[in-house]
Amino acid sequence: MGERIATRDAYGDALLELGKKRKEVVVLDADLSGSTKTAKFAKVFPERFFNIGISEQDLIGTAGGLSLAGKLPFASTFAVFETGRAWEQIRQTISYSSLNVKLVATHSGITVAEDGASHQAIEDIALMRVLPNMTVIVSADGIETKQVIAAIADFYGPVYVRLGRSKVPVVMPDDYKFTIGKAHKFHIGKDANIIAAGIMVSVSLDAMELLKKEGIDAGVINMPTVKPLDNDAVIEAARASGLIVTAEEHSVIGGLGGAVCEFLAENYPVPVKRIGIKDTFGCSGPSDELMKLYGLTAEDIVRTVKQGLKR
């Protein structure tokens, strides 16, 4: 787990690879191609790259039009602008007509850090999850990101992919094969199971090790597809342990925690604790300090599991 890669960097590489294989791939950005890493694609395939400028609503509509003309558009910008500024365009044009547009957003979550609340998307999963026809994917690391980009290119329909800015530990095995709608079970615990997504997967794995030292058998499940959720994996985790903890770098409202709670409440009610941003905006500061401030560290997860087990 020594290597650290930003998922946006893996995206830039994956997009370039995909562009070489599939000539129908087109990429759109809204003046952030250096940050979203779509610039890598733009440099090699300038005729298939469209910078739409600082206009996210037009970005989405144009991507929709390109898909209607038979192209495979990847539209990228920061998560907060993609899902927020252009939410209604995504709803009306992309989701309602179920267009084959891939919305791959970077700079999600509070780890955007110093830029502060205006740039920290902590509602994007909720905003995308509520849209019919939309598949919602949160990538945990560089390995998973490359797999995700390849998988969604082969899948027809609208997809939202959530990526981050900062370098994160590589946690997925080299031979990992991502499948839309499938969770990756690192370990199923007998005492508790942590269902995590995105950068919280590596934090959860740290928590699992800490808990093990205290004799608590906690499992970790990476749930990259928040919609459709891997219901079987959630049930298995609930059956095995009776306590579920969800962990995400997102509001506790409407994201992975919300999805897991909705499913379990109706199908297999067990106690659930949600780790995430507690219905508040973020603030400026260094990434790691923000993770502490908002309760997103391995120690926070350990404490939450123990509270859940009343130990």
Binding site: V26, E47, R48, F50, I52, G53, S55, Q57, D58, I60, G61, T62, A63, G64, G65, L66, S67, L68, A69, G70, K71, P73, E88, Q89, Q92, T93, Y96, S97, S98
Partner: protein, 276 residues
């Protein structure tokens, strides 16, 4: 390859436009709700497109070489349904199902349900971006097809329209022809009172478009403008079509209340008498 196109004479198109208006009024009266004024105001333009200008094939709605039509002002759905039905995309009897449960004729156009509808619209300001995207894709593939997009004048109050205006000019999308149905009215009243739009032609011109200003009910002028637009290279074309809301039915003309109101059965009878 069969296609509807070929040049038809003005008299034929005028008759066709009348038939389109009749279908619009009949389906709206049957539905009991919907947008009368803005469907009638753009009827001549849509008729010129579907029965003369555009290359399309009602028997093969997905024909690759077709010209595309995007109704950005989606509330004029009855107009789109009328020209599609009269072109032969589906049986005219389907028009009676407008706005009813189970009908492919939704209150605003839904591309998933009705062949011939390129994309679902209804939320204003989005059509031109979509038209641009299609136009980019067509150019990449070396296709000669053109993309036509009708916008409402009030609709251009949406910021996205101007984002799209920039994009079309920036990418020199000369296969895009937008048409503003400039009837001067929106739900809350005259556009100039709600949110001033003028000078419309100068604005589009300043955004890098070739602008053609016409009387949107003069069939000869409409055809001339569409031909002129096709000849423009290196920039998109905008036809500012000055129209009358509710055009064709004297007691609907210029009346803001008929933006979103369907004719009663008595009004339908009077309207049909006027038209026939």
């Amino acid at each position: 390859m069969s296609q509807v196109s070929a040049s038809k004479d003005i008299a034929f198109l005028k008759e066709q436009a009348k038939a389109v208006r009749i279908e619009i009024l009949k389906m709206l009266a049957e539905a009991g709700s919907g947008h009368t004024g803005g469907s009638l105001s753009a009827a001549d333009i849509a008729t010129a497109l579907y029965f003369s200008k555009m290359r399309h094939n009602p028997k093969d709605p997905a024909w690759e070489e077709r010209d595309r039509f995007i109704l950005s002002k989606g509330h004029a759905a009855p107009l789109l349904y009328a020209v599609l039905a009269l072109s032969g995309y589906f049986d005219k009897s389907l028009l009676n199902t407008l706005r009813k449960i189970g009908s492919p004729l939704q209150g605003h156009p839904c591309s998933k349900l009705l062949p011939g509808v390129e994309i679902s619209t209804g939320s204003l300001g989005q059509g031109l971006s979509i038209a641009n995207g299609i136009a980019m894709g067509l150019k990449m593939d070396g296709m000669n097809s053109r993309v036509y997009c009708i916008l409402g004048d009030g609709e251009t109050q949406e910021g996205q329209v101007w984002e799209a205006a920039m994009t079309a000019a920036h990418y020199r999308l000369d296969n895009v022809c937008a048409i503003i149905d400039n009837n001067g009215l929106q739900i809350d009243g005259h556009c100039c009172d709600v949110m001033a739009l003028e000078p419309i032609a100068e604005k589009w011109s300043a955004f890098g478009w070739h602008v053609i200003d016409i009387d949107g009910h003069d069939m000869k002028a409409i055809l001339g403008a569409l031909d002129e637009a096709e000849g423009i290279k290196g920039k998109p074309a905008m036809i500012v079509a000055r129209t009358v809301k509710g055009k064709g039915v004297s007691f609907f003309e210029g009346k803001v209340q008929y933006h979103g109101m369907a004719p009663t059965s008595e009004e339908l009878e009077r309207a049909l008498k006027e038209l026939e």
